[in-house]
Amino acid sequence: MRKFFAVIKREYLQRVRTKFFIVATVLGPVMLALFTVVPVYIASIPGGSTRLAVVDQTGKVYERFREALVSSENAENDDDVDANSNSGAAANSNQQDRAQRTSELSKAPFEVEQVTLDGRSLEEVKRQLNERVRRSELDGYVVIPPDVLTAGKAEFYGRNTGDIFTRGTVAERLSRAVREERLTENKIDQRVLREASRRVTLNSTKISASGEEKVTGSGFMVVFSFGMLIYISVLMYGQIVLGAVIEEKETRIAEILFSSMRSFPLMMGKLVGVSLVALTQLGIWGLALLAFAGLGAGVMRGSSMNLPHVPPIMFVYFVLYFLLGYFIYATVYALIGSMVTTTQEGGQLAMPIVLMLVAGFYFVFPIIRSPNSSLAFWASMFPFLAPITMMVRITTETPPAWQIILSLAIGFATVVGLIWLASRIYRVGMLMYGKKATIPEVLRWIRQA
């Protein structure tokens, strides 16, 4: 046991004291800030206003169109009330988020002027306008034909027709103006209509063992970011575990180590040592994130980035399943490290297995729909999928405690089993270094050790 701790101590101290670790730990939060705060900030920078001329051949629509364009009010919301209930609260809120964000991006203001024909032909006016667009006095113009109310067609000419935001906004504002004009002609008060077509907001409340709980529909986001966190940390530290296992092979130290201790505590010590490094780094980042959350709240206020509300017990599950997810995949790297002689080789071999973690996401939607199905049960018991699938179940409809305990037990038993296997392969494999092992050889090693 003391030797086991000696291995952990060495792995930990040697890695934590490197410049690379310190730099990465400091740069991590900086990158985090770059990827979270900066995009929100950039999105909020107003672009220049779009100068638009309107040739209104009806003589009736221009005023409404101008108003619609200039007013910053978001017209999209009263356009359609979508009945989006089948994919659950999580998906619903997600969609809402997205719609809001898109409209924000398209909120560039317009400068509108009216151009009348004044007896000239449409062709002549268009020629003049084209000339102005070319000279950059205008960004584009809209031609509203006399029959727009019935035919429902208008033309947009612009320098940058690829700008889908502008085009979309113009189309949408014009249809609003045309629709209102149509309604007026049919003697229907638009205010009445607007009132009548107001959107319904669906608030979801989760009923759990502890009574009613307010849920902001953050389940999917939580699981998704959780999965990403495991994935990223496995990608980051898996290579380090691999390197740590191969290190003694490359430096030929393994022989001394094995003449001093058994291979299982050695392998376990390595895994735990490197993992403590990972957890130290993630812990520092976690604290930094909390600090940012406070600091960034100011920047993010009023934007669409809402920090999901999470009940405290979730943090416990979060940590447990994060550890499981991390360890199960880090162990795969250790196992592969025991078979190969170079890190590059090992990284390639480990990749397909780590993709299992991504495969866990395939189960997210079926499980959200029926969190107590047998598919959900088995998927959350299978150790390589459990970190994602069980977290989905916990956030949607928390399964009985015995299932959670069982899945954790299976998971951590798998970790120990894999390490045991890795230590056997490692010990025998070490005796023939420099040679790439074939699968039958590896199987023989397992029996031999």
Binding site: R2, K3, A6, V7, K9, R10, Q14, T18, E247, E248, T251, R252, I253, A254, E255, I256, L257, F258, S259, S260, M261, R262, R427, L431, M432, R444
Partner: protein, 302 residues
């Protein structure tokens, strides 16, 4: 020699797949003596050592150390310098030694004292805070030697301990090994360099192609292989050397004459006759066969 052997290797066989690395090998190693495990590369020396230090387990046969069957507990009483040298490249020498000491259950202040003592002894004190990769090969090797002796093991196994060392350090290493021998430790020296084994070992075991070729006390082995020859530097005495009842053959090598005695003749008679003849004798030495010659002879025989 009166006490029981500290290490007994009893009819041990180890196979890797179809390849038999060690075949029915038996050895006895005694404390206070240097035991030479000699043979060419690939003979099975390293595999034998790995079984002694409990890295691998024999397929058949048994190993007993200090009267107990081999186990991981006994590993703490063994110091091992493997042929494949390796240190953690980025670790400082002092930390490195500290780690290996802990792996042998030596810790705390005791470990620090031992590390300092050994670094001083092997003239490495100035390098304590340097990283291993900044050390020369010879220095790295000395550091590794310290990892093998830091816990004051009762059995010290050194696999090719002199390779890569300059003559000064070879001498330093030899002195250290002899000190350990004087302390009553059991020492196994594995090498393919016969000249080194000749100078240091009390007992030898020759292995070739996974089989034991020969073992015993070095002196006895050499005597038994004596070719009844004398190395001579002499002026005069010509007619004695031409006596066919005494001398079978004479070969010149440099200033020396290698005189092969006739069957039944002995060196003492030759010496007396040469002295009586009034010749000036600068060197008269019984030519013992080198381990190398013995090894070649034995391998040819088998």
């Amino acid at each position: 020699m009166s006490d029981a052997p500290s290490l007994i290797v009893d009819h041990v066989t180890k196979r890797f797949g179809d390849f038999t690395a060690v075949d029915d090998l038996s050895l006895q190693v005694h404390r206070g003596r240097v035991f030479g495990l000699i043979g060419p590369n690939g003979a099975g020396k390293t595999t034998t050592i790995r079984m002694i230090v409990n890295i691998t387990v024999p397929d058949s046969g048994g190993i007993k150390l200090f009267g107990q069957p081999m186990s991981s507990k006994l590993q703490d009483r063994i110091g091992y310098l493997p042929e494949e040298r390796g240190l953690y490249k980025k670790m400082k020498v002092g930390e490195q030694l500290r780690f290996f000491a802990e792996l042998k259950d030596v810790r705390g202040k005791d470990a620090d004292e031992r590390i300092n003592k050994w670094l001083a002894k092997l003239q490495l004190t100035d390098w304590k805070n340097k990283r291993a990769k900044d050390l020369s090969k010879g220095m790295q090797q000395k550091v590794q030697f310290i990892t093998a002796v830091i816990h004051d093991p009762d059995l010290l196994i050194l696999d090719e301990p002199f390779s890569g060392l300059d003559p000064v350090n070879v001498e330093l290493m030899k002195q250290t090994i002899l000190e350990k021998k004087a302390e009553g430790k059991t020492i196994i020296l594995s090498t393919h360099q016969m000249e080194i084994a000749e100078k240091l070992c009390d007992d030898v075991c020759m292995i070739n192609r996974s089989h034991k070729v020969l073992d015993g006390k070095l002196r006895e082995i050499r005597r038994s292989f004596s070719r009844n020859a004398v190395e001579l530097q002499i002026k005069g005495g010509g007619e004695v050397l031409e006596d066919p009842s005494l001398v079978a053959n004479i070969r010149e090598s440099g200033d020396d004459l290698e005189v092969l005695l006739a069957p039944g003749a002995d060196a003492q008679t030759l010496l007396k006759r040469l002295v009586a003849s009034g010749a000036v004798i600068n060197k008269f030495e019984l030519a013992e066969p080198s381990l190398h010659d013995i090894f070649i002879t034995k391998v040819r025989e088998s």
